[in-house]
């Protein structure tokens, strides 16, 4: 059985390469065996891919599950009656979404991981939380997705919550001002999805000619720049512009996904995303899935020992990134640090069926 007590005894950014390699080899081998027995389609996959049974594997040998499969298969390793919560990934209407089945234990592990990671960045005290989103995201079952889960997850850090957008995604300037006035001079946490912050908060402030002065604010955002690169907004520009209108200097992007909630990769002041003890990352070459060298662009594979109710401990994503190094980021955090380059570019595919036609 996985020793989660041991995992949570550890601080998120203190484990060095050699030890982490040993631990991840053990944990992930164990999880692979565990899910092989309990999740029938996963077991069948491993059998057909000839993944050896009862044999220790190193992290990089752990079979990877393509992230797209969570959209088409119910991948679950627990009896139906113990499913406590079903997470879905964000997707526009009509698009298929991933469904991740959590029991109370797994959901608890994920939350504890998030608390530990957040705590490392802004301390253990609860803070006033300004959510840049609409409260409707939580109320409307149809909208409840990665966005809702993110908000719920981050509300664990809050002493008090204010939603910055109304039900129609309009900026609630009055409400925000009231909230900020009450906590003037205090550290406050601001959380939202990258493109929502940009489109509904930054753009709205710009339009109204308004700005805030929050030198003690900490802004945390995730979900990717994909929707912003269409407007050609880079990570650097995002930071600059947000600082311009809010006075916030501490801005942390994070990389994470509904398929591995909680064990997110936070960005340090040096602009690097960090793996913690709750997660790890490998980048692979398209040609043969061999592991890339540091500095080499590759397809991102993510690991998390927390995926216990579903076989999501080793996932091949559809993102590309570059691992910059391990244990030696100037911020002092141990573990791998990296940059995400975004979604893999869709290639033009040849073929007789004219589905891509315009």
């Amino acid at each position: 059985m996985m020793d989660y007590k041991d995992i949570f005894k550890r601080k998120p950014y203190f484990t060095e390469k050699a030890e982490k390699e040993t631990l991840y080899g053990e944990w992930l081998t164990e999880l692979t065996e565990y899910h092989r027995e309990r999740c029938t389609p996963y077991g069948k996959l491993l059998k057909n891919l000839k993944v050896p049974q009862y044999q220790h594997m190193r992290e990089e040998e752990i079979p990877m599950l393509p992230i797209g499969l969570f959209k088409d298969f119910d991948l679950v390793s627990i009896p139906e009656q113990t499913v406590f919560k079903t997470m879905t990934s964000s997707g526009t209407s009509g698009q298929k979404v991933s469904r991740i089945y959590l029991d109370t234990e797994t959901a608890d592990y994920q939350q504890r991981a998030l608390v530990a990671i957040g705590g490392d960045f802004w301390g253990d005290a609860r803070l006033p939380l300004l959510v840049i989103d609409s409260p409707r995201v939580l109320k409307d079952r149809n909208l409840f997705s990665a966005r809702g889960a993110g908000i719920l997850g981050f509300s664990i850090f809050s002493s008090r919550i204010c939603y910055g957008l109304d039900k129609d995604m309009n900026l609630d300037l009055e409400g925000i001002e009231l909230f900020l006035n009450r906590y003037q001079g205090e550290t406050i946490l601001i959380f939202g999805f990258t493109y929502i912050i940009w489109n509904y908060f930054y753009q709205a402030l710009k339009r109204l000619g308004q700005s805030f002065h929050l030198p003690k604010g900490i802004l945390v955002h995730g979900g990717g720049f994909k929707k912003l690169t269409d407007q050609s907004v880079s990570s650097e520009e995002f930071k600059e512009r947000i600082t311009e209108v809010t006075g916030i200097n501490r801005i942390h992007n994070y990389y994470g996904m509904a398929e591995q909630t909680g064990s997110i990769y936070m960005e340090c002041p040096f602009g690097h995303l960090h793996a913690s003890i709750y997660s790890d990352i490998i980048t692979r070459r398209a040609k043969d899935f061999k592991v890339c060298s540091y500095g080499e662009k590759g397809i991102i594979q993510v690991f998390s020992p927390l995926a216990f109710s579903y076989p999501g401990h080793s996932i091949l994503t559809e993102d590309e990134g570059v691992i910059l190094g391990e244990d030696d980021c100037p911020c002092g955090r141990k573990g791998k640090y990296f940059r995400v380059l975004g979604r893999i570019q869709q290639a033009e595919i040849r073929g007789c069926s004219d589905t891509y036609d315009g």
Partner: protein
């Protein structure tokens, strides 16, 4: 309305004057085009498909096609044919147009607004030729334009044309069928198809290395050249063998290693690699017939099956994912030959044997039997349809 239509070659409104098939002005023009493409070979190095097209329309090949129809029957074109080709097959529009012209028609050709670079390049060269005085006549018979599929111009041509040619699979066909069509017009449609390859195990086993590599090269040309997504790219490889042979596994692996080597220059992007691995996992999780999955780097994935699944056309290998079956080819062919089975490529078995099998067993599928390496070759007879016959009218007569 004529908005958002870009005319790329020829005239806006081609003249509707039926001609005899393989008329001299058409053959002369194609010959000149073939020469022009040959002369520009340096410039066209980045576009191997254009070079292949230029070779296909060479005079000797056109004359050879003409001789097939020298049967004493009297044929005349229908008028104007309208062509819509899938944009993700390079130059398909050009092959389609040439066939329309050969059948004695004027051609309106719509290419996608997302058409590829080599499509545009060829249009440029065609236009350079058409402005020459000697081709004024042919120019009036050609209109190549680009617009999106919903454009009014497309609807007008679908309604007005005497012959409609749609390449692009089931979906494209269904959307066109909903439009207003000329009651007396003919339609030549190319729906979704899939293809297979049959190799005789013993024959392959006996091959010298050089020969084997050559065959593997031909196989790669049939498959990887079009991302293994063309209707005529084999997805299944049937190893014909009477009984289970001990050496079978060694022969198969030697073959796939040769394929891997020949496909080494294939551009397997991150997108293709992840989607291909995802497809492999999907099959690994759901298919009942899997005996063994092998991978040769990420370039070649093979899925050996104990039996042919029902609905074999739904298993799509792309970018080098092949389903394999070993046993008597006939019993496999019987199950594979659903309506959608188009091309059978073969080595080590006579084509007559395969065709006889199809005939004797009254099979639905199999429209084409060609040697390994010829899967992508265009022909006037495609998908069981004689395009010259369909796009011309035959005048019957009595004394």
């Amino acid at each position: 309305m004529m908005v958002d239509v870009t005319y790329l070659a020829g005239v806006k409104t081609p003249s509707a004057e039926p001609m005899i098939p393989f008329a001299a002005p058409v053959l002369d023009f194609l010959e000149a085009l073939s020469h022009e493409l040959h002369n520009r070979r340096e410039e066209l190095i980045p576009y191997p498909e254009i070079k292949a097209f230029g070779f296909w329309i060479r005079r000797t090949h056109m004359d050879e096609l003409k001789s097939r129809y020298a049967d004493g029957r009297i044929r005349l074109g229908r008028g104007v044919t309208f062509h819509m080709a899938a944009s993700n097959v390079p130059l398909l529009f050009a092959y389609s147009m040439v066939i329309g012209l050969l059948a004695g028609n004027s051609c309106a050709v719509r290419i996608s607004s997302r058409s590829q670079e080599q499509d545009r390049k060829l249009c440029e060269i065609i236009e350079i030729l058409l402005v020459r005085q000697e081709f004024t006549f042919v120019k009036k018979r050609i209109s190549i334009f680009s617009c999106d599929r919903e454009n009014e111009v497309v609807k007008d041509w679908v309604k007005e044309c005497d012959g409609l040619i749609i390449w692009g699979g089931d979906e494209a066909i269904q959307s066109v069928r909903r439009l207003d069509l000329r009651p007396g017009g003919v339609q030549v449609m190319f729906p979704d198809r899939y293809s297979i390859c049959i190799l005789d195990l013993e024959s392959v086993g006996k091959m010298q290395e050089e020969e084997l590599n050559k065959l593997a090269y031909s196989f790669v040309k049939d498959t990887y050249a079009m991302d293994q997504n063309a209707c005529s790219s084999p997805r299944y490889l049937i190893w014909n063998q009477k009984e289970t042979l001990k050496k079978a596994e060694a022969i198969r692996k030697k073959w796939w290693r040769a394929v891997e080597k020949e496909a080494a220059s294939y551009n397997l992007t991150s997108h293709k690699a992840t989607k291909k691995y995802e497809a492999l996992c999907r099959y690994a999780m759901t298919m009942e017939e899997i005996v063994e999955i092998e991978s040769y780097k990420n370039l070649v994935y093979t899925v050996l099956l104990s039996d042919i699944p029902s609905n074999p056309e739904q298993y799509r290998g792309s970018w080098g994912l092949f389903f394999e079956y070993q046993g008597y080819y006939g019993s496999a062919l019987k199950k594979l030959a659903v309506r959608q089975l188009q091309t059978v490529t073969h080595y080590g078995i006579q084509k007559k044997e395969i065709i006889d099998y199809v005939m004797n067993h009254h099979l639905y599928g199999v429209h084409r039997v060609v040697p390994v390496g010829d899967a992508m070759n265009m022909d006037l007879i495609w998908d069981g349809q004689d395009m010259i016959g369909m796009l011309s009218r035959e005048i019957s007569w009595e004394e």
